[in-house]
């Protein structure tokens, strides 16, 4: 995960702020919550192969990583980008999963809410 910052002279510096290992892909944008934390989703990996929601909290010059929620298929499969509602809660969708016996290309999926993220 990285950031491009202007240096004031018309140029931009590139900084990696978090590295996922050879993990599930993270291809949706992360969002800032009202406290300045970065929240995003990723897909795959051994622990939560159906995807997960993570948070990066700014700590000095570093960003601390934490897992907010892991999907197991029964509660959704493949989260898309989340959004921060006016209430501060997170809302998002999974593109599949959530219904037993419903294959990934059969029109399933869920809308989820994460409170107190």
């Amino acid at each position: 995960m990285y950031e491009l910052s202007p240096d004031g002279n018309g140029n931009y510096s590139f900084q990696v702020i978090h590295i996922f290992g050879k993990t599930g892909q993270s291809y949706y944008p992360v969002v800032l919550d009202p406290s300045g934390n970065l929240i995003g989703v990723a897909f795959g990996g051994s622990a939560d192969p159906a995807g997960f929601v993570f948070k990066l909290t700014h700590s000095g010059s570093a960003w601390d990583y934490s897992l907010l929620h892991g999907f197991d298929g029964n509660n959704g499969f493949g989260p898309n980008a989340v959004m921060v509602a006016a209430s501060g809660n997170l809302f998002g969708v999974t593109n599949a999963g959530g219904v037993a016996g419903c294959s990934n290309d059969s029109g399933c999926g869920v809308v989820f809410e994460l409170t107190n993220p």
């Binding site: 995960m1 990285y2 950031e3 491009l4 910052s5 202007p6 931009y12 590139f14 990696v16 978090h18 996922f20 290992g21 050879k22 993990t23 599930g24 892909q25 993270s26 291809y27 949706y28 944008p29 992360v30 969002v31 800032l32 990723a42 897909f43 990996g45 051994s46 990583y65 934490s66 897992l67 929620h69 509660n75 959704g76 493949g78 898309n80 980008a81 989340v82 959004m83 509602a85 006016a86 809302f91 998002g92 969708v93 593109n95 599949a96 959530g98 219904v99 990934n104 290309d105 059969s106 029109g107 399933c108 999926g109 869920v110 809308v111 989820f112 809410e113 994460l114 409170t115 107190n116």
Partner: protein, 314 residues
């Protein structure tokens, strides 16, 4: 389409046994997770996609990439637009519109509660269109096609979320089309008296420009009125760029801000940038094969986004 994409991604991930390595990952238990709506397949819309948008009343709006009343789009339906309305401790689900030619990308809302989006397909010429969905007092939402791309110099196949300015103009990109080499454009759509919308091509991507080409993401404004976006390709190495469009006396000019190297910095950005007070943060780049297998460009609806490094799968 989307769900098949997930299957491909899942199979790919399974096959190559990718593992998450994060030494600082800690579960957080303070928050609670709940499912506020299940899509169950069948005749209804399904496979929700992209990012939700919220209106001032707390209603959520989203799109699906599957289902709907018309069984087109490879027999699975083309998806639609739905609303989830808070109702005490419950959420009321309403399907607002079903599409007939292509699945919608994610939506934006204006101050009056109208929704705008793009279809990468369909329209008068089959090259995609920009639409508006408007609430009515009678209940059903009104679908209005605002502009159909011809597939020529005006662009072909919009593939990203739109941007709205204070005057009600819409901005976006098409992945293909344009005068130069069918490498995509940045466009502005402006409402005219009588309900007609006219298009202006702000930038026509070329091989010669170092700003890149074939955008998969939309554009966003900074406070000075400059536009920023990303491209999937670049003349120098094919790994994509971040570009800036500046308006001058003779029109808009694109300049290169960053060119990906396909090294530790990733490659093939797929999502738009967003501007914060400190600078530009980016959404995740994707490798092309992952993008094709997935849903396409990611949205950018919030104040600040940061990029996720591309994970190389081979």
């Amino acid at each position: 389409m989307a769900a098949r994409g997930y299957s491909l991604v899942h199979n790919r991930i399974t096959t190559i046994a990718l593992l998450l390595i994060s030494t600082t990952a800690l579960p957080v238990s303070a928050q609670s997770f709940s499912i506020i709506h299940h899509f169950r397949g069948g005749a209804s819309a399904g496979n929700p996609a992209f990012q939700l948008v919220e209106d001032t009343a707390g209603n959520l709006y989203g799109t699906t990439s599957w289902g709907g009343a018309v069984r087109q789009c490879q027999g699975n339906g083309c998806g639609g637009v739905y609303r989830l309305s808070p109702n005490g401790n419950q959420w009321t689900y309403t399907e607002l519109y079903d599409f007939h030619a292509a699945a919608p990308y994610n939506l934006i809302l204006d101050a009056e509660g109208n929704l705008y989006g793009a279809l990468s397909g369909g329209g008068t010429y089959g090259a995609g269109l920009v639409f508006e969905l408007s609430p009515t007092s009678a209940g059903p939402w009104t679908f209005t096609p605002l502009y159909s791309f011809t597939g020529g110099s005006d662009g072909s196949l919009p593939a990203a979320v739109l941007t709205l300015d204070a005057e009600g103009n819409l901005y976006g990109t098409t992945r293909y089309g344009g005068d130069s080499a069918n490498l995509g454009i940045v466009f502005e759509l402006s409402p005219q008296p009588g309900g007609v919308w006219t298009e202006q091509v702000l930038w026509d991507f070329t091989f010669r420009s170092n700003a890149g080409y074939n955008p998969n993401a939309g554009v966003v404004f900074d406070p000075q009125g400059n536009l920023y976006g990303t491209t999937d390709q670049a003349a120098a190495n094919g790994n994509g760029t971040v570009y800036k469009l500046t308006k001058g006396a003779s029109g808009w000019t694109a300049t290169l801000l960053y060119q990906f190297t396909d090294g530790t910095d990733g490659a093939d950005p797929e999502a738009p940038v967003a501007i914060d007070a400190a600078g530009i943060c980016m959404a995740p780049p994707l490798r092309e094969e992952i993008r094709r297998a997935h849903l396409g460009p990611a949205p950018c609806m919030s104040c600040r986004l940061t990029a996720t490094e591309t994970i190389h799968s081979r």
